[in-house]
Symmetry: C2
Subunit: 208 residues, 2 copies
DNA sequence: TGAGGGATGTTAATAATTTAACAATAAATC
DNA sequence: GATTTATTGTTAAATTATTAACATCCCTCA
């Protein structure tokens, strides 16, 4: 499979999330325009994305929901479950851990790290919190590949560099500090202040 | 000012965040390539964005950090501070409230809403939590324009429709349910599972 | 005071992404 | 079973976003 555009990968994840809801609604088939409408995009976009992953429906009664879920999984999931850790189990870290735990079968949240003595060696939001000082050992032993970074901004840079040295291959950075990662490591960053400011901009003077 | 592309607005927010850090570092001037490097984008992009907002530096010793912060503020901030509320003050809502409170001078987090009797009429993460049943009155009295939605998914749709009826003009939706809003209301959605799945996809097989 | 260097603002070119167009075809209807 | 209708897969076009190119400007320093 040739490399997919990042935007398509994002949408595949959203398609699957929506399709999983369809299953709950006992809906076994869905038309491209229905799927599109639920995500506020166009039907063409859906069809084009599915074309890119080489999926086509056998019937013309829409896509087989369960089959499409599986197909998307084959594309975006890894064969073996990939292990994830939250670094910094503060307010945001706890929310993320509690939310994410068990949501996806091929992504396992297996550890959190913190340097607060009150927190280490306890189970917090469903995951064991390890002392940050043991991160090298634990990352290697548990084969952790992805880190979700929710430490205070001042530590973000150093911690990201360390974890990469210890074998982390992907980082989701929620701190306000932009990070540098070597090529071969994938980085996603999200700052909610940016989102809110964007909303505010378009609300102001009704720029819609 | 003609309408800016959403991407540019996002970057303006990021520029300002970075520039604010520069102030802390006692840096008063910054070159486009330095600003760009801190955000992992190109200097051309920076210059082009600033061109779009009609900013030009008087000196050629880089941009005046304080001046640029002000200019960006004139573009993306509203004159009067815009009021924001968090709806659903659970794990994520509390993290967001605590984080966001006081971060930006023109965006004031003035209330939260919940329907849990344990939570209402208390100050949580620095904001007063009102009973959800009073939302119509409070939104109008406090002139709240933006809602950050962190309620359980099942309630998201109904709550968003109600709040829009009561005068909300912008929604930042963190629930997993895509929402429909009438035109004239701005909607941003973010799902962290999508981000993690994207990271996982590019980590798998090293698709970098 | 004037040549050189370095950074900017802007237009033009390129690349990425989305949308449109439409032929192909299954299902529904008569 | 012919005809209509609806939906898909795919190519082509349009739009949007990014990058390159370059003339211009200011500062430096000889
Ligand atoms: N709370 C939010 O909604 C939110 C939103 C966006 C971004 N952020 C960012 O996320 C980060 C965390 O926010 P928070 O509200 O959860 O803060 P927090 O203070 O509640 O949590 C930070 C956690 O990191 C731990 N920590 C500190 N230094 C550490 C170190 N060197 N090694 C390991 N652990 C360490 C602390 O013990 C604490 O548990 C911040 O960078 C913040 O800017 C938060
Ligand atoms: N925790 C995360 O990191 C995270 C990440 C992404 C998305 N989300 C989404 O954010 C939402 C909240 O997540 P959470 O982990 O904070 O859940 P939570 O259960 O901790 O919080 C939900 C809050 O909403 C309140 N609530 C419930 N029904 C309400 C109603 N009808 N009106 C007003 N308030 C109501 C509850 O009392 C509770 O305080 C969920 O939709 C979740 O999918 C959470």
């Amino acid at each position: 499979m040739t490399r997919l555009p990042g935007k398509t990968v994002e949408r595949l994840s959203e398609y699957r999330r929506t399709l999983l809801e369809c299953l709950i609604e006992k809906k076994s088939f869905i038309f491209s325009h229905d799927l599109a409408a639920r995500l506020h995009i166009t039907a063409v976009q859906v069809r084009r994305d599915l074309m890119l992953i080489g999926y086509s429906s056998v019937l013309r009664k829409g896509y087989d929901v369960r089959e499409l879920i599986d197909t998307i999984g084959k594309i975006i999931d890894s064969e073996e479950s990939m292990n994830v850790a939250v670094i910094g189990i503060g307010n945001l870290g706890r929310a993320v851990a509690g939310y994410f735990k068990g949501k996806r079968s091929k992504l396992s949240l297996v550890a959190s790290f913190d340097n607060d003595p009150q927190k280490v060696n306890k189970v917090i939001s469903g995951v064991k919190c390890y002392p940050y000082s043991e991160i090298e050992r634990v990352v290697k032993e548990l084969d952790i590949k992805i880190a979700i970074l929710t430490v205070p901004p001042d530590f973000a840079r150093e911690i990201s560099e360390e974890t990469v040295r210890f074998g982390i291959k992907g980082i989701l950075n929620f701190t306000t500090i932009p990070l540098n990662v070597p090529s071969g490591v994938h980085l996603e960053e999200y700052d909610m202040i940016t989102s809110i400011e964007k909303v505010a901009y378009f609300v102001k003077d009704n720029k819609i």
